[in-house]
Symmetry: C3
Subunit: 343 residues, 3 copies
């Protein structure tokens, strides 16, 4: 798809300085521009690039005053950064507007589909599944029986959702995510073997949640594992059975939350962090990457270490850990002095 | 499916107190009960809920004596917890009793299938594959050539098994598991590049193993990577080439076992733990989450830390790590005293 | 496939000592040999096995002089280890020579396919995709629009590649890998919720890269996430948006690299290591497993710990960490002595 500078200026409530017919078909950083690309300049730190860029069009702030000649075409707007985000979203919505049922899709006769739904080839829509309006199911997904998926939600290819789970509206589930697999529950026998504890609950994903590729979210033993609205999960996150993740909580990649842990809202959990089972994390808690949390945590706490303690305390202790050999040397010297003194 | 209280009492060798015709169609915790659900009361701690629950039926112990009026229907059994587990298993076996070959399944002419096998749409059964009786292959699985899968084993959707691997009886393999991918073996060249070392072994999963969603198990360079009977692996576990996991060993999510490590039987390995390659872990070893093991470990050891040491020792040392600033302050003060004394 | 000893000797420029008609159909370690298998003896440590092995044929060095009677057939070559690798590669290339389009594959009319391409059932080749010569796409893969894949590259089953990504020649992508999922980028709103920052870049995988099963590589926000030629990634690796991994760098399983980090060439990154975002790692850097790197690192550095420091320093400090209780006891004793002295 090609667009003219004039059309884009119109979309962004901007004014073209230069060729209104200049054509663009991709987006790029200003320092990586090429013919046909559109870029933006918001941060004055990058001003030099606007004089040398190969981008065909650059979006700039109203307040920008060139100090050298400009060889590209400008679109002048109130706020270049915001305008570029508008453009990005427009670009993405045009790109991801697939609709219809592709060949080799398998849709149960008892499933109900909203308007403008897309189901890609090799995707399996089980019995009694309900897909809202504008739901997009990319190829190679399996949606188990009785699953409900809300309006505008996108499932990228290879995602697997077990029976009875619920996904809200406006969610994005990336490739190869698993939702609703059995929780890890076993009862030990006297001979050292284990009996499986049946896992008959489900997973509920509320509205406006994004889940990164390769993440796994187990169903509850009974009741529901819940990801509350607005939560954002990065790639390869593990959420165990009966966990609750609070509203707007953000979890970086490869973190793991063990069974029945409850995480509050607006928390930030760093990559590769691990939370033990059956603990309660307050709201607005910040957990440094690779930390291990094994007890209840108050609202607003900042944590680091394994097991985690207050982040500032951890950093202080770690400074001394790094100096441990010299600290022990000081102790050695003191002992020598004392022993000399005594003798 | 709806069941009457009388039928369930019959299944559980229990007696109904209340309406023998009360109908139930789902299971729930006693505190989350709703019309049509059946719950249980085993732990006296939860007794209060039996007087207020909305569950239509509650299973109780013979020994339970109500201290208030009961508004629901009871089924009285010898052991309510065990009875509920029987009910759960019954519920699950009724639910997962799919059989037959769905449309758009691709089964090689040279594959052999036992009785009551289920193969879902978009699943690929390669040449010479052998599926035992009652095997269930959910949609979007790929089973490579010469693979053997034992009776009653379930593969959930999206699971990929490479050629020549063997899966035993009564196993559950959850979604998006990979079994038999190449081990990570490369020989360095003088120019800094690497040549691939071909990985021609396989993976053997013995009977009664459960593997969590998103886990990956690499084939051996030569010979076999082996998961022994009764082992339970949680989600996103990584098992490298030529590893052996002993009988009934339990591994929590996101743990990784490097190449050629041998793990004994009845071990418990915590989440996000990492085991180095070519080490030998004894039987009944317990490894705390996030620990890193880089040497051979004796039977029954309990480990913590990275690198891991005896778990009790780690916890003791960590108490002092937390107090490190105050310990250094004490050292400072001692030095000051000594220096004053000397001057 | 059965081969005669004479044919194999011919392939390896070797000489048969024994029955030139001895038949083999599999490869095994010398200590695990069985009838029909071929093994090798290179390391003198294993010499004893050549006298007792059940392998039908054993490849040995020219320099090998038996000290006992040999009951198997030998193939004598210049370098037994190298010869066996040649044999392994030959075995693998014969095994993985699938070609053609299987039934239930879906290939866009606008896609272009080179010679000898294989596309398995249930694989989806999107619009404008370009597959080079000899590309092998196993079943249940999804290749998004505009993706380019170079000659001889193999995608194992279940791999998902998002639109606009580029994969080079001679790559191996194992099962359930995700390439090109959205980077994890969100802009906070004043009410605590987040807006998605569109991710419109792509992923570029250069030539001769191997990526282990279950790994996830996010597309750039703008521009490209890049894996340079010869890099080797193990299973369950996480590569965030705008990361660059240098030539011939090797990353062990479950490591994670956060957004915009740049890793140099010929580095070795241990399992479960984590690299923070926006840092620059030099060339030839070695990072111990489970380490956490949060700052720029010079060429050739060796690192350990979380946060990581020089590996030797970490090990020294950790020795004292283990002795922490006895060190504090020494401090206690010194204090007692001083206080006695003073009183």
């Amino acid at each position: 798809m090609k667009f003219k500078a004039a059309d884009i200026a119109n979309l962004l409530n901007g004014v073209v300085k230069g060729d209104v017919n200049a054509e663009v078909w991709t987006l790029s950083k200003i320092e990586e521009g090429s013919e046909g690309s559109i870029s933006f300049l918001a941060n004055p730190k990058y001003e030099e690039y606007v004089y040398t860029t190969n981008s065909s069009v650059v979006i700039v702030n109203k307040s920008f005053e060139p100090s050298q000649p400009i060889n590209t075409n400008l679109i002048v707007v109130e706020d270049a950064y915001k305008a570029f985000t508008v453009l990005l979203n427009h670009y993405n919505s045009v790109k991801n507007n697939k609709t219809g049922i592709e060949e080799f899709a398998r849709i149960s006769e008892t499933a109900t589909l909203g308007e403008d739904v897309y189901v890609g080839s090799f995707s399996y829509i089980g019995t009694n599944v309900k897909l809202g309006n504008n739901v997009k199911i990319y190829p190679n997904c399996t949606i188990g029986e009785n699953v409900t998926i809300g309006d505008n939600t996108i499932l990228r290819s290879g995602t697997q959702i077990y029976e009875d789970c619920v996904v809200g509206k406006d969610c994005i589930i990336h490739s190869n995510v698993v939702i609703g697999s059995d929780g890890f529950g076993f009862a030990p026998n006297t001979d050292g073997s284990y009996d499986k504890i049946p896992q008959i609950g489900n997973v509920i994903i509320e509205d406006n949640v994004e889940i990164g590729s390769g993440s796994t979210i187990d169903r509850a033993t009974m009741g529901s594992t819940i990801i509350r609205k607005g939560a954002k999960l990065d790639n390869q996150i593990q959420i165990a059975h009966n966990v609750v993740i609070g509203e707007n909580t953000v979890i970086a990649s490869q973190a793991g939350i063990a069974g029945s842990a409850k995480v509050g809202r607006n928390c930030m959990i760093g990559g590769q962090a691990g939370l033990a089972g059956h603990i309660k994390i307050g709201d607005f808690v910040q957990i440094q990457g690779q930390s291990g949390i094994n007890s209840d945590i108050k609202d607003g706490a900042q944590l680091y270490g394994s097991p985690a303690i207050n982040a500032t305390d951890y950093r202080k202790s770690y400074v001394y850990f790094r100096k441990f050999p010299s600290i022990v040397k000081r102790l050695d010297e003191l002992e020598n002095k004392i022993n000399k003194t005594k003798s």
